[in-house]
Amino acid sequence: MPETIAFVPPRYGEEVVGGAETLVRELAEELKRRGWPVEILTTRARDHYTWANYYPEGEDEVHGIRVRRFAAVTQQTDPQVRKLHTRVLDSKRMPVKDQVAWISNTVSSPDMLEYITSHCDDYRAFIFAPYLFGTTYLGSMAVPEKAFVISCLHDEAYARLPIFKQMLHAARGALFNTRPEEELARRLMGEDLRGWVVGMGFDSKPSDGRRFRAKFGVEGDFLLYMGRREPGKNTPLLVQYFCNYLHHTGRDLKLVLTGSGHVEIPHRFRESIIDLGFISERDKWDSYSAASLLCQPSVNESLSIVMLQAWLWGLPCLVHADCPVCRDHVVRSGGGLYFGNYAQFHEELDLILGNPDLAQRMGAAGRAYVESEFPWDVVVQHFQEALDEGLGDAGRGEGGVA
């Protein structure tokens, strides 16, 4: 019986930035370390804006894992596809054939689909991620008897399309990152949806706050934001709240922004908002021990890797109240607070910055939560159980050396 597990994300590589992509990479690498036979099937694209074929076609190796790359095809700029996209966003009723036409044209890879169907017997299971791409929909519908979907589901218009309900029910099951994501999926797709909470494990990496401060010339207390800077992630809201806070309090506080994407910094606050852009992995870990607190304003998170990593270094977190996953994290852990409006944001900043002891206790509570809820041993065990249960006796494998 084949043992190899194929992960199928739309993009894969060291330079690829994104939550689902990071999750797949970390999980695949951890399984590889534990002796599981793992492969990646993906497109040649590096960015999710143009889906241009960047990486060479064929076999590659990333951190010891074999990666098979196939040409990406997208028609997302086609007027007909745009029209369908608008209808999806407006939550208008659409025939299934139109839904399929839309998702198939976001990004797909006929060559990869051909490979998956013709080599289905060579793999024990295919793990597709995330739900919202043609590669996932077409791929999982082509081999449903071996398909699992790491959904990374958000409460959004796309998630209500019947084709995704059909896809997740056809597959062997869905793999969720957190309990709130699972609850959302059951609410949208039905209580009978087969799925397991697997998530991702977290290990602390060395962090040197002084090195971060020296390298980037950052002094004093600062609030850290890490991730893509775009309206969908609520970065403009954070900048606005932060500026209003400084305007009203006159506090000597900085906001350090890291990550890719454009961000508007108001002229008057240029000295208080430090935009570092894309930073290295080492700088990212260093920033956790340099910052006073982390802010995660996004309402569309299915796990929030950044928050969980920051907690490993005892950083208290402020999150948006409308993100069920982040809110659940802080409520269960005690590692931070949530805000739903400016007044709460203002009071919470005052509270955490004015009470170093409380900040420290929140950070410690966050760390304890990550260490107890997200150790790799547990994640891998859940992953193995999901595969065994999902595939049944016919697909039960040795599962590496976990």
Partner: protein
């Protein structure tokens, strides 16, 4: 105002009960809302404030200009048929506006389809340029400051005293010149020697740290990219130019371009002095090899042919041990 240390909510509980803390925060918000500290009415206008004219102007980094243009492009990337309509005609104005609105309504289906495509195209173009910016910044990050000019000049600190003693006769050559420009002025060795000899000289240096170092010594240095500065200099505008290590840390093509630009921008009869490492001397070669940012030694013969091609004449090469001095004039 709620400055640090003032009127701060106290949470003494041993375990952190987030919902309980939130209840206290919400209660506090209700109590303090009337004081106006949560007012968000002003922030909208503050966020839209435009920098005072000239505040953002710098020729040191072309990305500043790119940032500005991308910002403008983002602001104007959305086009729509929903713009305000009016008429300057006093009496029949309302009728004209009415007719315009009717025409717009009739054409909207067709026009909006075009606008929709245009908006999509604009969004992709803005995004493409933003990605380009991100790529440039990521590359800069990878190159890192430690392979930059500041490191080079830190390494050279040890032979600084020797170098400065060699610079005294070089300064003498410029006596009588109206002013001298030091391209890539580094730690300001030439500028200090010029000041000691009463010579009017100023420098151009792209590295912020080196510029600060010079400015702390009251040396006249502009933080700017020498390529951009030379590219913008009018014909016959520079009476004298000095440059140390010319071509040793830049691309070959950039050196050729720079000498061509000097041939255009220097005044007729103006003196150009190049003070480079002498790779035939063991000390000079060692200084070059120590420096991570050095790409190649530039031999005087190479410079001669480049200067000749750029129209310079009266070339002289003087060996100064670890350094050599090449002088040339624009005929």
């Amino acid at each position: 105002m709620s400055l640090a240390g003032e009127d701060v909510l106290e949470i003494e509980d041993d375990t952190i009960d987030v919902e309980r803390i939130m209840a206290r925060i919400n209660q506090r918000v209700e109590e303090r809302r009337a004081s106006g500290i949560y007012d968000e009415s002003e922030i909208e206008s503050i966020m839209r404030e435009v920098p005072p004219e000239g505040a953002d102007q710098s020729i040191s980094d072309p990305l500043h200009e790119l940032n500005f243009v991308v910002r403008l492009a983002s602001l104007h990337s959305q086009v729509s048929s929903e713009y305000a309509m009016g008429s300057g005609r006093k009496f029949i104005g309302p009728v004209i506006v009415f007719v315009k609105r009717v025409i717009r309504k009739l054409l909207r289906t067709y026009v909006d389809a075009v606008f929709s495509q245009q908006n999509e195209f604009n969004a992709y173009m803005v995004r493409s340029v933003q990605l380009l910016q991100d790529t440039i910044l990521a590359q800069r990050e990878r190159l890192g400051p430690e392979t930059g000019r500041a490191l080079s000049y830190r390494l050279q600190r040890e032979d600084e005293a020797v170098t400065e003693s060699l610079l005294a006769p070089v300064v003498e050559l410029f006596k009588g010149q109206e002013s001298v420009l030091d391209l890539f002025s580094g730690r300001g060795g030439f500028l200090r020697a010029a000041r000691a000899h009463g010579l009017e000289a100023s420098g151009v240096e792209p590295d912020e740290e080196l510029v600060r170092l010079c400015q702390e010594q009251d040396l006249k240095v502009l933080e700017a990219d020498p390529f951009l500065m030379l590219g913008a200099a009018p014909e016959d505008s520079l009476p004298g130019v000095f440059s140390a290590d010319l071509g040793e840390r830049i691309e070959a093509g950039e050196l050729t371009w720079m000498i061509g630009a000097l041939g255009f921008a220097m005044q007729r009869g103006g003196l150009l002095a190049i003070f480079n490492h002498n790779a035939t001397d063991p000390e000079g070669r060692a200084a070059l090899l120590r420096d991570l940012a050095t790409r190649r030694p530039v031999y005087p013969e190479t410079l001669r042919s480049l200067l000749e091609a750029a129209g310079f004449s009266q070339m002289r090469v003087i060996s100064l041990g670890s350094r050599y001095l090449l002088t040339a004039r624009r005929p």
